[in-house]
Amino acid sequence: MDNAFTFFAQQMLNGLTLGGLYALIALGYTMVYGIIQLINFAHGEFFAAGGYMGVILLSYMAGAGYMDTHPWLCIGFSLVLSMLYCAMLAMAVEKVAYKPLRHSSRLSVLLSALGMSIFLQNALMLTQGVYDKAYPGGIFGAPFEIGGVIVNYMQLLILALTAGLLVALNFLVFKTRVGRAMRATAQDKVMSALVGINSNRVISLTFAIGAGLAAAAGIMVGFYYGSVRFEMGFVPGIKAFAAAVLGGIGNITGAMIGGFIIGMVEIMAAAYIPYGGEYKDVCAFIILIAVLYFRPTGIMGENVDDTRV
């Protein structure tokens, strides 16, 4: 009994960690969709690019010995730099691959996004190689135990960072003028131009924020699993997309909730369903299909509490 509870609590902790990462990626899908009604299939690649930028910077700093003297500073520095790098990458992708198609059919833009995804993944493979790249280890010390639940500091860092980013994003979108301009642009582009909002800038900013969050997730995944791989953006990308649809695409709170649900379901399936570990990747897709079938607007879809962009 006691054992069963500790086991469950352990799974909850793991599910929360994974879910937070999905939530961070899902936000990019949902925000971009909210503003220009595009499913940005290249979004998973920003997550991968962030993971790689992280490993490049961290390895360099480890080589120079800074990782031993100032580990937290190094982590913070590479996190911020990777987020900035991916933000710029995403703005460039938008300018090159989406902006010229602003007035074309939605299918053209979607195909352009698919093409971008393939391009970015191959660029990563050609420049960084086909093998896994290891994250520097041993920074976070030994895990500790609370009532039988094994907690490690890295997991705590991931949870804290995820929570911090989610709160910061909510503040930005719902409490600042820039956020108000983003929501106004999502709701009516002609009217937002008539009040003086430059929608191109708002669209750029939206891509930048979404990619920055994905990059943060990429680094955390690198630490969590110990390494990154050029194709790492694909599966988490689709799962996060499922999370965004589950939450109601275009809805920020929805993407967060959707991310946590998918992460939780995946971990629970692996823990409680016989051979679940082998099938856990399927969960997100089953949920995606079920949502599209039974409630295409998602949990926070229209007419529920309005936290759409």
């Binding site: 709701q187 002609v190 009217m191």
Partner: protein, 240 residues
Amino acid sequence: MAGDTILELKNVAAHYGRIQALKGISLSVREGEVVSIIGANGAGKSTTLMTICGIVRASEGAVHYAGQDITRVNADKLPRMGLCQVPEGRRIFPRLSVAENLDMGAFFRRRKRRIRADMEMVYEYFPRLRERRSQAGGTLSGGEQQMLAIGRALMSRPKVLLLDEPSLGLAPIIVKQIFDIVQTINQEQGVTILLVEQNANLALQASNRGYVLETGKVVMADDAASLLDNPDIRKAYLGE
């Protein structure tokens, strides 16, 4: 009363794809005036305003505002130049609150205290908006949305205000309120007004001058009083 010409269209044409909506419109508005554009549904009134604001691009001709050629200026640059439109159908941001909608009207302004003071002024003009300031714009009634749309435009401290069918779909008592405020804005704040209306009687009574638009062309231009007396106009637009 009227000063220099502040807004001028010279032979402006505009197209939607291959459909020509404006076929060489020329008109001018002087500082301090209320000028109305009347005409039947589909005459090109809204297109004229959207072309002035750079949302629709003029395919021929030129638009001058405050001594500048704004024909190719991007729409989002105009509010800070003092040119502002309340478009047809109000276009309230439905999922922003009333206060947030008003704040968006002052998007390009930076001085918080003055913005706050202007928001107070809008709430004085339209006390209903103050009561509903935290409500989502999309949940307001048609009349309240029109008040909000005008209030949002005032938040930019416009020199010239373009108003597209402010009376559309509103009860007569609300229409009167709105027109009273429009005249107050013109007289007390000196805002120049270009007013588009299908309700010609109402518009001309509130205006100094008027233009009559038919299928993308100006067919008549005169003082508002003369237009109101003109038998052809009375027959065609005033329902006599």
